[in-house]
């Protein structure tokens, strides 16, 4: 009886640990999860490659109309154009189960993106970051610490006259040596189409 109870307890703890690891989410102020993925040209890209730089991650899926809207509006391209020479790197990550380097290359071409799309079709990196939507944005400071996660801006419908770009604001604050005033917001967009 007590043996069965012990086995049940151990099993329950194991289930809880697995559940905890699946749900592990990055925490603001803690080191961002490390990753190595291939970009749309097949080149290996690691977060560690950008030590000393600020890294912006955008969860991306070209089939999501919200991503496509921002791509057409040049929301992310403008970030690259504004902040690239200030030591900021933007990486798109595609955790769509069906994505390939080839499909990412085509999408990068189609939308004339000036940043790479990394292939996370297994979804491991997306799950490590708790990425839920496309787009879902993360900002990692020069020391590899996560300082922002959430929406790109406060305009889910793309129809506001005055838009607050949360990522740009976080970058401005970081570059001015200030803490990020809004470290977390609710992301919006399509759900990430993870492999099951």
């Amino acid at each position: 009886m007590s043996k069965a109870y012990l086995i049940a307890t151990v099993a329950a703890v194991c289930v809880m640990m697995v559940a905890a690891s699946v749900q592990a989410k990055p925490v603001i102020g803690q080191p961002a999860p490390q990753f190595t993925l291939e970009d749309h040209n097949g080149k290996s890209v690691s977060l560690a490659d950008f030590k000393g730089k600020i890294v912006v991650l955008e969860w991306w899926n070209e089939g999501c109309p919200v991503c496509a809207r921002h791509a057409r509006a040049g929301t992310m391209k403008k970030l690259v154009n504004t902040y690239a020479d200030k030591g900021v790197v933007l990486l798109a990550i595609n955790s769509t189960a069906s994505c390939t380097n080839e499909s990412n290359r085509k999408a990068a071409e189609q939308f004339s993106l000036n940043y790479p799309i990394l292939n996370d079709s297994k979804g491991d990196v997306g799950r490590a970051y708790g990425a839920r939507t496309t787009p879902h944005m993360y900002v990692i400071d020069k020391n590899g610490v996560l300082v922002y996660m959430g929406a790109i801006d406060d305009d889910p419908g793309g129809n506001k006259k005055e838009v607050v770009n949360y990522v740009a604001r976080a970058l401005d604050e970081l570059l001015a040596g200030k803490p990020v005033s809004t470290p977390e917001t609710r992301p919006y967009g399509c759900s990430v189409k993870y492999a099951r």
Binding site: G63, P65, V66, S103, R132, G157, N159, T182, G189, K193
Partner: protein
Amino acid sequence: MNTTHGRKERHNNLGPNNMRFFALTCGPRTAYSTAAMRYWVEITTVCWIVASLAVWAAEAAPAGEHPATARLLADVSTAAPGRPFRVGVLFTMAPSWHIYWKNPGDSGMPTMIRFAGPAGTEFSSLHWPAPWAFSDGEMTTYGYEGSVLLWATATLPQNTPVGGTVEISAECQWLVCRRECLSGGAKLALSLRVGDVPVPADADVFARWAGSLPVAAASPECPVELSVTRQAAGDRQRGASFRIAGRWKGRAGRDVAACPDSGEAFKVEGIRVERLADGFIILLNAEVFKGKEQDGSELPVVVSFTDGAGVRRGVNVALPMRPGH
């Protein structure tokens, strides 16, 4: 290219012939195909050109492939100046597709409607029937499958000339998803006569959806007794855990969901619903985002369920975020 839609509109009885509308929906059918993406840009461009050129059409063109259609309705065919009436958009989705509640949940986008009328017309905020929760095990979203009416109360200015007509319009935007998502939009309009006495229309549609509007927990028609317990905040600085216990007053409901109206201020996680013989227990953790503390004293939650008669219903609950609040 034919891109304007409203698949079912040809068969719709919109009431009096003086009601006109025009609908526009855009988007790719297949969200994953790169070939489709190329068309997407073209289709979208064409859509916007059509949108900018189109005058109010008497009837929407057939629906094509977009999985959601929108139809503008009023609960009067003749409105009286200064007398409130209801105006709503009835969304109809293809099987297995859904649009989103005001809080879409872990992903998605709120459905948006902007009503407009003659200068001085007042519109209330949008009324949202009790939503469904959709969960894939990893993410939970809130919205509507099948169909839903989202409506507002409109009031024409007192000085609106009697005997003429007025035009009410609704600009709609939505994201419609099953596994993939498509964005859609519609510019709808209808004409109403203006008279001294209102003449009702489409009363059944409005009555049906008014029956799904969440009610106050204290109201007599609330079919469930609720009690809220605020539990230890744990290590969360701006958070709290809540337990909502519900007991059915009469016939038990099913498909109970806790739908937090989180707005921009709250992060809500770990929602669990346990079914009991005579009710349910809901557990959830809520946290106010840093910088949003002033907006976050109470978290509104709609506890939604399907009642014994098969009607989706809801109860409004406010969760106190501060101890002793």
